[in-house]
């Protein structure tokens, strides 16, 4: 069992979400940066989809009432195990009674913490993820919460000392594919989108990244009949500033989507910090 001494600004339980229910209005949810969650799980010998903690801007303090293997990935944050520094992207044994502190990441936003055996909170529609848009899954952590840990995954060995992980880019370039509604925009809108960097605003969250920069001009007025939305969609509301949909995005929407991020660049988008500049490339 893990006791939450301090939850940090926003810490939630996440796995790979609940795909397959979008036609019922249920977002996929799950880890915003999926490869980081999967890596954290592999490092402690878990199946890749085991439930972990997703910490937004770190800041969490946890007490382990039983010994455990843990690994932190994603946004690189200073880790302290009973006051001693520990490494990111590496399995770490914590004896019973250990106090684990996760500091504020120096880059990126979301740090993942896997525990061997996975977090054994009750699943909802097949997933333990917290969906902040629809309120499904466990509530964000609060002080004093006690998180159950599942049984260790058989004999799965812990093999890696430290996984090599490239640093997060300072001014990332995200690849986009035009459409499905690029024809709703002025002919030069895609050029505008890709010409100058946009700035990530503080209104960004797991639903989407809100951007400041040059507005995109519409070629036609009126409302788009509501249609299904994908993760990574650049949805453009009437103010012309795109919102990049992340994992808790609404399943349908009525604003046109000018382009969609390349799937491979979604994890990079999920680590964008408010104030950071980002470029889009066709």
């Amino acid at each position: 069992m893990i006791e939450v001494v301090r939850p940090g600004p926003l810490t939630t339980v996440q796995d790979l979400g609940r795909p397959g229910h979008a036609h019922l209005g249920v977002p996929c949810s799950g880890a915003a940066d999926r490869p980081s969650l999967c890596l954290a799980n592999r490092l402690v010998g878990n199946p890749e989809d085991a439930a972990c903690l997703e910490m937004t801007f770190g800041g969490a303090v946890l007490r382990f009432h039983r010994s455990a293997w843990v690994a932190a990935t994603g946004a690189p944050a200073p880790l302290r195990v009973n006051g001693r520094p520990a490494a990111m992207n590496a399995p770490c044994h914590v004896p019973a009674g250990t106090r684990l502190e996760v500091g504020v990441p120096e880059a990126g936003v979301r740090t993942y913490l896997a525990v061997r055996g996975g977090l054994a909170v009750d699943p909802v529609l097949g997933s333990r993820s917290t969906d902040l848009l629809s309120g499904l899954g466990p509530a964000p952590l609060t002080r004093g919460d006690r998180l159950p840990v599942g049984d260790a995954p058989g004999d799965a060995p812990i093999l890696v000392d430290q996984a090599p992980v490239p640093p997060l880019p300072g001014e990332p370039v995200l690849r986009i594919l035009p459409g499905p509604r690029d024809d709703w925009f002025a002919p030069d809108a895609l050029r505008t989108l890709t010409a100058e960097p946009y700035e990530v605003t503080a209104e960004s969250n797991r639903v989407g990244i809100r951007l400041a920069g040059r507005p995109l001009q519409r070629a036609r007025d009126g409302e788009l009949p509501s249609e299904g939305m994908v993760t990574g969609a650049l949805q453009v509301p009437p103010n012309g500033l795109p919102i990049v949909f992340l994992t808790d995005h609404p399943t349908t929407g009525g604003y046109p989507v000018i382009a969609v991020l390349s799937s491979a660049d979604l994890p990079t988008a999920a680590q964008l910090r408010p104030g950071q500049k980002v470029r889009f490339r066709l």
């Binding site: 397959g20 848009l133 629809s134 459409g179 249609e227 994908v230």
Partner: protein, 206 residues
Amino acid sequence: MRVRRAGDAAVLAEVEDLATAHRLHAAVRAAGFEGIVDVVPGERTVLVVTDPARCDLDRLRARLAALELPERPEGDAAPLEIPVRYDGEDVAEVAELTGLTAEEVVRRHASGDYVVAYLGFSPGFGYLTGLDPALHVPRRSTPRTSVPAGSVAIAGPYSAVYPSPSPGGWRLLGRTDVALWDLDRPSPALLRPGARVRFVPVEDAR
């Protein structure tokens, strides 16, 4: 049918109307193509989300175009009846906006044959088409911070029942005790795209 790309993992099929979208939605589910993650109908579209490692999008586009659509995706299933106590906070306001009496607002809302166009906004929230055009009123300019679960409401061309308490700007006509969303049911959402719905006025909506 026009099939648009929606990134490298999904396609958006555009059709002429809602009924065709429901038929295509049913056909895609029935076809059981490999690597499909989600099929999401909209008002005139069906979004098909894939796992790109298990599904080739170009092949999927060709297969979608070649699908034979069922005549009536919901078959001859009887409409779902939702008992409603028409004592909503906005009945008088809707009467004023439409120039109808409160009784006429209720009568017209309760005599509609509705179809679930699509779900969204929140889990189990269905956008119902078939609202009497005389009742098409805009949303409230200031949304309520909390609308109770079971609220029966209208906005624009749609009617809906709030499945869970949430903020909302729709005009409230009444209340039902039927659970639109219940995680203890094998299928938590009461409504499905394409399902038919009727509202039945009652004194006690149990």
